[in-house]
Symmetry: C2
Subunit: 226 residues, 2 copies
């Protein structure tokens, strides 16, 4: 069975909401980050989980975060892609698949995780994604609509994003050398000619960015009854 490592970039400035470190905030009584990890820690093929934290938090890692021996923490970087690269450096060479998951997507479900890992274990880079709900318009610098891309060909990328380990390592090494920044690992791999497919994500696999998103996530969890 392919051994899987999970990388969680949670080290950057974007992780704060109203000054509070978001991954440690509670969502229906459980830290957001704990919820993010749960579907991975349930799996036997996940051997390592590397969480990139802000350096100043490394001395005070909460007990719940390291309760499972597979979890280790490293210092993250200034931006998301820095944190992914630094966490990736702590992933052992034995990992055949590396999966990246946002520290702000606590509603991810087992089936979405499974689709991503299954693809990557078969050698295929994959990103969880959903059709876009709104019409997307492309604008110029003045905010004028210049194009309406065909919505049927657009997908909103989520995480997890899963890759054969060597593919993700090569893309990040090249991006670091070329000083390329990327908000999305699938986009980075595709940019360098890698073959990435979308697999079915979930509309409720939302990314918590604002207090409004937090209320939304709570409403969704109540609907699920969990």
């Amino acid at each position: 069975m392919t051994r899987v490592a999970v990388v969680i970039p949670a080290g950057g400035a974007g992780q704060r909401m109203g000054g509070v470190y978001k991954p440690f905030m509670e969502l229906c009584g459980e830290p957001i980050l704990a919820r993010c990890l749960r579907p991975f820690l349930r799996r036997a093929d996940v051997h390592w989980v590397v969480v990139a934290l802000p350096a100043e938090l490394l001395g005070a890692v909460p007990a719940w975060l390291c309760a499972d021996a597979r979890v280790r923490t490293v210092a993250g970087g200034a931006q998301r892609h820095d944190s992914v690269r630094l966490a990736l450096a702590a992933v052992p060479d034995e990992a055949g698949v590396v999966l990246v998951h946002d520290a702000a997507r606590p509603l991810v479900t087992d089936d979405v995780v499974d689709r991503c890992i299954s693809a990557a274990a078969a050698g295929q880079s994959a990103v969880a994604a959903v059709p876009v709900a709104d019409t997307i318009q492309e604008v110029d610098d003045a905010g004028r609509i210049v194009a309406t891309p065909d919505r049927s060909r657009l997908r909103a990328a989520q995480t997890p994003q899963a890759f054969p380990a060597a593919v993700l390592r090569a893309a990040h090494a090249r991006a670091a050398a070329e000083r390329v920044t990327a908000t999305d690992d699938a986009g980075l791999v595709a940019r360098y000619g890698g073959d990435v497919v979308v697999v079915t994500g979930a509309s409720d696999n939302l990314k918590i960015t604002t207090p409004t998103d937090l209320a939304h996530a709570e409403a969704l969890l109540r609907l699920r009854g969990t």
Copy 2:
């Protein structure tokens, strides 16, 4: 003062959720459609509101919908753009600005409405829109990522969308003649060379499509305390 007409396409098959006609469903004790109309009916410059309903509902229009004398109903068409065109035909020639608003966006606020109408009253077609929250990927028929459009240039279009009346009428007349379908009036006007700008929408101006969206909208309304 420019006289404004509001068109609400609520006639199509997409208006049903679990068999129930969505615009008449209650959201925190008030029909969704009533909430959609409220910010427009508060304005003195709005002289006409034309709601395109499924033909079979025209004989049983609820009292709350027509309580304001400015509201009239017409039979909608099979698709959204048909309903817009049919409602537009019932807008008097005296209207200088026509605004289109989804029957499924009950959380629209006065400030967003005002930005759209102000632009159109000055002769500028405008669409409420927000930056896209997720990385958008363009895929081919096999679901492979073929491009990652520059996210900073993408906007998720919402409604209201507001137009000088003649501009919207001309675009719909041409689309009907050419049998062009469009999910979005701003996109249609831009397609025919019209100049459309995006104005700032609101991240919580969500479109209610699923029961999950309904729970989300309720959570948002509770946050607002209304």
